[in-house]
Symmetry: C2
Subunit: 411 residues, 2 copies
Amino acid sequence: MGELFQARTVREARELLGEHIKATGLAEQVPLLKAMGRRLAQDLTAVDAVPGFDRSVVDGFAVRARDTFGATESLPAYLDVTGEVYMGQDAAATGVVGVGQAWRMPTGGMLPPGADAVVMVEYTEELDELTIGVTKPVAPGDNIVFAGEDIASGNGVLPRGHILRPQDLGLLAAVGLSEVPVLVPTKVGIISTGDELVETREQPGPGQVRDINSYALYGQAVAAGAQPCIYGIVQDDFDLLMDRLKQALSECDLVLLSGGSSVGTRDVAARALDTLGSPGVLFHGISIKPGKPTVGAVVEGKPVFGLPGHPVSAMVVFDLLVTPLLRHGFYVDDPLEFPVRACLTRNMHSASGREDYLRVRLYQENGTLIADPVLGKSGLISTMVRAGGLARIAAEKEGIEAGEYIEVKLF
Amino acid sequence: MGELFQARTVREARELLGEHIKATGLAEQVPLLKAMGRRLAQDLTAVDAVPGFDRSVVDGFAVRARDTFGATESLPAYLDVTGEVYMGQDAAATGVVGVGQAWRMPTGGMLPPGADAVVMVEYTEELDELTIGVTKPVAPGDNIVFAGEDIASGNGVLPRGHILRPQDLGLLAAVGLSEVPVLVPTKVGIISTGDELVETREQPGPGQVRDINSYALYGQAVAAGAQPCIYGIVQDDFDLLMDRLKQALSECDLVLLSGGSSVGTRDVAARALDTLGSPGVLFHGISIKPGKPTVGAVVEGKPVFGLPGHPVSAMVVFDLLVTPLLRHGFYVDDPLEFPVRACLTRNMHSASGREDYLRVRLYQENGTLIADPVLGKSGLISTMVRAGGLARIAAEKEGIEAGEYIEVKLF
């Protein structure tokens, strides 16, 4: 057996694929409100500072801080109220806060010239319309957000590749970007093979089953921000499969072939993937369970995966090898890939040198998060439906005992 | 101060709102491939069993198990090969596996009548075209998925309210549901108030800032599966605000009013919310930081929130009080609401009786997930952008020390 047929670790598989994949980097301009979950196509820079002026963060009085030094409840600092700031108005247009003076100030209002701090209304007493006593001193800068403190003008605000979250939309709105350049979603072609498969809307005859994988993989692609396209079911025939693969490759950025589970289907699929183009198949098999019979290929820079036929196996491999590509465009070490720790309910064996992935039900018991393995063959999609997450047993472990903690990715 | 003005805990606020909210429950039929992330409008039942027949999970030979009893490598059980099963074909149409006989069997093929187990090809030796030796016995049922083992006919497969994940699409495809009844997404109306606010595409003058909250809340609503609609910026004017609120309430299922941060704006908003209809405002203030100045109301069964003006505060409150409603239609105790545990880098004070929410940066160090608080005023949207998650300090705690673990929700 050549190197090609040696099962790879997930890390090795990612490295091999990563060396040959070329991301397209096609960009488009979209309205900010349509940009949720999209990836930025370029670094974005703030033209304007946010806020554009020194701004009060409390209701109170704009003052010169030194006029309040030494003020106490028993000996307040008395100031003349000589002005008022209104929301949204230019406080510089109406004068200056002089020595011994104070202006009324709403939260969010613009600090008037002369003032260098704001006294909270709670620390003032109103003697009459025109005079207040300040009962607690403020230092210069107190209760103020300075111009550019949120976002400095000319600074980079978000990097190329960043996946836009709600707060990012807020930030971009703040700097006036009502349209943003984002990467065009990855087009994912999905092909199912197997003589036993029929379409969802058909009634399976004896020996036939409906195609599950096309739908599950479509859902995973959508969840990862891609634009999937189903190329239907192909019989176990080399020429038919080649035609469909070529069509999908010409129209998509990434192609998934999800094998029927029989040896015949697998052989046809592997041959087809190897005939498509250069460099072709990079590995046969990854050392994980479930998901071992996975073929990884790259054709003219585009990744093509021959996924296992069993739905659970296909979904696990998608999560490990396809999702990162769709989300980031390449493989990254993500410390948050399996971010949840949960306590395992039973001993689970795992062969050393192989990563095991468990479907787990998750629930809380006495404040502890519990992971209870959903047992069952990897051909049963219902086991994935009953599970709330996927737990990983690292390759160097020979198993995990009941009561030990395990890393989990939530579905 | 009446009960209305007593700050509520998050739990109390949820209970109060929950008592008065009426979910619409409007349903629509959508193609399965368009149903990712949608909520089921009714319990779904499987008409067909999956698989519809007993199915091999290995490549090998279909046999009568008793014919293999006692077989060993040195003393194999010899069987006559009298047939072959083909993928997707009715194995019952071509005969019966008799005593002392075996049929060739692909993974996923239909078990022929007479056979009750499958021997893996690895445990057979082929003597000639018509004879095999079995070197390891099988028990009845070995290497078979039974008809209905994945999904039993007539069984409930997914309950009303379930949020569809990729594996659920696979399951529904398996039982032939190419269209599914889902709940119409919640329509969320978003209004921003404040005399200082201008639209994203406008250039703010002195004292003015662009509206951040409409965009951040829009993003959060999209992320929670809702259908948000922006009703723009309203000045601090009771009549204008009432008109806009009424319009949003008539067109939406839930309305968010995000206050400018000044006391004037808050007062106008609170008065407007209380005038809209019955039962009206349920609470002023929740005992959290940031997010305290939140008004919760229900008007004719529809929730209306007066959110704080500071973007961080508005987003935290949205996460706690609005997201669960949009996802589930009601408040549920979700053990996975803050599913990640991370080690805090510094002491953080928190007043007892108040839940504190920290923006945190997350990273891995020596295999430990670290949460490093992003400090900064809640008016600074950039602090949310720098954070990777939100951490919770429970109300009964007076703070958390460096090195302690804290519960985190990932952004």
